[in-house]
Symmetry: D2
Subunit: 436 residues, 4 copies
């Protein structure tokens, strides 16, 4: 018996003993609906936490259809009161005061926001709401009309997961297994094969791992980054993952962020990565003053399709050659291909754009948006099957230079300028043809 | 040098070294204003935490006039965009969809809310915002036009200090001195004279003290309650404060909440007391199953003025007698007066109302609103000077009965019904005259 | 660079910079010997911790031959001073006072005890001494003349690992991975295959694991016990290990100690198991009052050789039958054999003795010595290869009954009486022949 | 009801329910004696912890007479067996082996050591044994025949409070009040007046306080040192105690140990101070690299009587002048007296010896023995009444120079050489007369 159910029994049940007994016979959807109604009722304050607990428990019993129905109910039955909105608006138009604006703000706020705040009261409620939004995002794919509801979740979660409430914790071999197994599960970039692989990645001599946690979600990581301490900037991922890179330890002068994983799909759009990288840079600068260079070794997941989509004949030819796999075993061929790969890689990162004018590469959007530069492309750098398919084995180092971060961020944000390292610039210049 | 300034030096300054150097020569008000502008600027994300830190530091340098000017600036320059509100409203009136409502909600939300969320990013920001609202509440007394701004603070702080984020901690002699000195400072009901007095109130044999804390404000208590474990329901405060009450310890069957203090004026209206009492009841029920009765021994701060304001001749006479102080030394006189005091006390709690129909007594509003009953009035119960002036020494026990809390709360909330204990009912009946 | 070496460099080296530089060129054996001499020298107090650290580091570099030589040096060069012993003895014989006895005690105490106490000063020294004794025990097998030295180690370690200094900690999935991997490594009874297997054994619903730790050896477990919460007393180990036992959780009324592992060979003879089991019984009694029965499911590692060694023809036959393995696939045969196995098993536990008159079974010696009873033998109970070879698959439940522990312990200690459960008594009676 | 008694009730009592009930009617002395007998009895292992608990509880009820009788019993009834000693000695004389020595060692060890080790088993036992020795040391003053017993206590406590088991903790305003009140109580050099005074001494900007703790005695400090961070070496204690010294904080280059207090009289002779000072030097060197000088500001408690005891006429005159108190208000007089005070102070520290040839000043013995130098005498430095009476207001700085500590310690230990600072050397030379 959990503490929760224990408390419910000793207290909640005494309060509402009969209704509870009946309730459990009701379908979960009905219990959830009546719980929500109860929470919004004036006068129900005394047992709100217990009611919220039961509502969350009922939600957890629902299948996707039930969840979708619940989300629709939130949209339709817990909206704002149109008459109140209209009247507050009229008042504001007349008075044009800040007081009138505040009244309008209150009238316009959908009631479901207040409901979600009450569902957050019980212990564990926050994580359940994060998971609820994860359900919503999934179900929205087939039901776009639910999108406005996501706006409410997003609004609340952004406020609750404000940077000021996040706690950065180092994750190492002394961390609870309960956290470590989540690291294994959530690692999204370079799969962790087993506990030995994990231990290698937490080796204190030349590795670091940091994550953000929120007090209300306890040991559940929100995002984490894996760092290798190296001598110089590495150009291939293999030695980092196998731990066979010989430099490191005391000789290390470079911190390499080689894997960043978001753990909670339900917190999509609540951005942590930017804060995390900068906090890690701060901490490492303090702990290890000999570390002077902060750089990533990042995948380039859009390179292969982008290259294949270029009209240039040289690009077409290169794409075919790279897809043909012969180069994997043929060192000479690799050497022959390398200059052209570097050129097209440079073009990809600097000129490849989405329709909206942003970098075509999603990882590039993140790091360039944080104020990093596209420092050096590396090929071949990752021979894992996925990396070969998505990027022909290409990787890139993004460089975080503290005294450049802001200027680069601004140039990128305002004019889309991609800061480049010398090697990337050289590759750009060296290329002939339309892509240059 | 604090860690914060250290980090700023090692990192932030490298980023913005020249502007910072100039900035510190500017008046704080200018630095604050330009910091706020910087935070709202698109593209300034890269150094937002450092900018927010500097803005908060600049705020802390302001005097009241400067603060008032800053608050006015928040009202005027960080409002919503009227054109955007109007256009979103028109859209909503046409479409009447939830999507349009969400757009309207975003248009109506004052920009200062977003600004305050960014000021919350730095470590320690949350507490500084709580203190900022404390300033606002103080300055609002002379500047009621600032009230709409308080609505924004209230909205954000209510969301951030959601019950789900609060942590209850027991406070005892093993707590850090840094917390204990705050308990001494914040005790608002029965002053703690010195550390010996405090130790007595934390004696593990028959005392408990619990507080709510928020992860982002660390060791700063939000509210705390002092509890004495007694045999039976006590009728006078003296022995509880001096620790001379002999029962307690293993024989105790009653937990007496004899002091509840809110610690943060800046969190006014964000209610914790209700949750705290119920959580303490739960914890004590588990820890000490022999404790069956949960009761307060509470002041009656409005009794003296209320009694003096009654038109009834008997009340006038009693008020005069009680004000005359003779009874303080005269046991016989006390005995003679007691029945009438009890009668008028019962009338006060049951029938004394504010213009809005709520109980005249502010403490009664809190406990009756929580679902407690007015169990027993006690006279004379507190001979401290303040208690004599405000209540002629009267105190009252509010009783928390778990299986009655919800029904009583609802009857009180919907119809203003005051649940009474048998002694109070008897006193009501025994009284003659118009008050009966 | 570790903190230790860091401190040595920043401080110790400043003290003894030149000697240190030379020292590291010396062979480890020489450095160790001169370190020991330095520690015993009058006047060397100022840098003893650093010297002890270096001596321990030098020891760690030695191979077995070097270690054996070091142990011999401890025996020969760090003994007591015979002249001082003689003179103190003469004094005592004359005076016959307690003061004279204390002087004699000091004269007789080998100097190596004082040396070992000084080697314990540095951080981590305790664990290194435990490991040193582990080496000694190993090397003693080929060098019995070292035995007196073990007496000194044993004397000191028994004092340092006094029950009063041990801390019991629950081990679960929230424990650091650094502890958990040691649990996997040290499990000596039923091998833990992988982290999934481990997680199953730590499942909070129906499993517990507790270990003793010592503050000076940190996260290094000394001994740990694995417990399953069951409905009734289990007779086979399989379901406990695979986690397929269905009862457990709330219905559980029995705690089964199914694996106890000593982790530190260097602490041989410093007994913890007795204390650990009793402490676990206390804790579980408090945490889960519905658990009423405390029992083991233990191996019988000496059964097979004992049975094979019985002269009785029935025993010989049974031993042959059990060794033939046919019964493993033949349920009928098992049923036919069972009564006789039970009879001989009962005889084994009750009458099987070593030359010294103790139970032949080493696990029986431990539990019967703790005051448990031989409650029920189970066959076949463990089909793992080792258990088949050593015990033909036999296991036994030892029962810990709090109100019987002391009487049983005493009867066992003074007269060798083995307390039996009803099933064992029945099996004893049912048997015919010489063993009965 | 404590956890302990709770456990006893729930478990121990079940084991020994009737004897316990009777036992509590027996006088404490009898219960203690029979508890000790029970602990030593072969076969009593099963309930030893509970028996030890009861014995300790019985001891705590005894008055001094009862305690003295108990100590005598330990001496007489728990000694070694003379026959066994004799036989083991004879064996050793014959065999002259280490094995025989070990047997002799075991025979000679008084049985009370084994008894005390068993009394250490229960939780809290260690502290109770420390307090028991404190009683013993007190009672020994009137009963010197108990001294051999102290040798056993000293032997065991030295082993248990080995440096390797001590934990250094920083004490500050975040420490539990339960620790801080002990700091107030145990401060033996410069009394802490109240909590405000304490807070001043823990101010993080320019103060530090560190203590040694032992895991088995929990929050009970063993020894602590108070440190002020200053600019330069201070010559008067006043500003350090009132906190009015202006330098400190970031400008500080000197750590001043101005108060060291042993907290446990029962650990007399188990030396911690040496280790503590050196550990603090290490920690501060790491935390605050700008701190280069480590120095004390120490009392000179034997100066006044020593000066009064000098036969030299100048000394006699000076002693009279200093005792006359006129100089306290007369700056000119002070200036006139100062050179002579400095001269005699230098002689006191350098030449003043006990009969055993050690420094006459007990504080000097400690610091010079640790390898510090007598750096500078200061007069007048402490105008507190006690300091005036014992030392005419004189204080001294002992200087800890890491690269000199060992050489100084050795010169002091082997030849009694007192290392001096230049000012002390100058004062020695400047003096005329026999003391020079």
């Amino acid at each position: 018996m959990t503490l929760l159910s224990d408390l419910l029994q000793s207290i909640g049940d005494r309060m509402r003993s009969k209704p509870t007994a009946q309730a459990s016979l009701q379908p979960a959807a009905d219990r959830l609906a009546s719980g929500c109604a109860e929470l919004m009722r004036k006068g129900g304050e005394a047992s709100r936490i217990a009611v919220a607990e039961q509502a969350l428990a009922a939600y957890a019993e629902l299948d996707d259809e039930g969840k979708a129905r619940f989300f629709r109910m939130l949209l339709e039955d817990f909206s704002a009161d149109p008459a109140a909105v209209r009247s507050a608006y009229a008042e504001w138009e007349t008075a044009r005061t800040e007081a009138a604006l505040e009244d309008l703000f209150k009238a316009v706020e959908p009631k479901r926001q207040s409901l979600l705040r009450m569902l957050n009261h019980p212990t564990g409620g926050t994580l359940q709401l994060v998971r609820m939004r994860q359900d919503l995002l999934r179900l929205m794919r087939g039901a776009p009309e639910l999108a406005p509801l996501d706006s409410d979740f997003s609004h609340l979660l952004s406020s609750w997961f404000n940077r000021g409430f996040l706690v950065m914790r180092r994750i190492d071999w002394n961390s609870p297994a309960a956290i470590l197994e989540k690291i294994v599960a959530y690692e999204a970039v370079h799969e962790i094969k087993d506990w030995n692989d994990l231990r290698r990645r937490l080796e204190p001599s030349d590795r670091r791992c940091y994550g953000f946690f929120h007090p209300a979600t306890g040991d559940e990581p929100l995002i984490f980054v894996e760092v290798a301490l190296c001598k110089g900037i590495p150009g291939t991922i293999g030695p980092l993952l196998t731990g066979s890179s010989d430099a490191g330890g005391e000789a290390a002068d470079t911190a390499v962020f080689y894997s960043i994983s978001n753990c909670q799909p339900g917190l999509k759009g609540v951005s942590f990565g930017n804060f995390l990288i900068k906090q890690v840079v701060r901490n490492l600068s303090q702990e290890l003053p000999q570390i002077r260079t902060f750089v990533t070794l990042s995948p380039a997941p859009g390179f292969a399709p982008w290259l294949a989509g270029q009209e240039d004949a040289g690009a077409q030819e290169l794409a075919a050659e790279l897809a043909a796999e012969g180069w994997r075993q043929d060192a000479e061929l690799r050497e022959a291909l390398a200059p052209e790969v570097q050129t097209w890689a440079a073009r990809y990162f600097v000129h490849g754009k989405t329709g909206a004018g942003l970098p075509a590469d999603p990882v590039a959007r993140f790091h360039l948006g944080n104020g990093a530069s596209a420092h050096r492309t590396n090929w071949p750098a990752d021979l894992a099957e996925g990396a070969l398919q998505r990027a022909h084995g290409l990787m890139i180092n993004y460089l975080y230079e503290l005294d450049q971060i802001e200027a680069r961020h601004e140039a990128f944000a305002s004019e889309g300028t991609v800061a480049c390292g010398p090697a990337v610039r050289r590759a750009l210049r060296s290329g002939k043809g339309p892509g240059a």
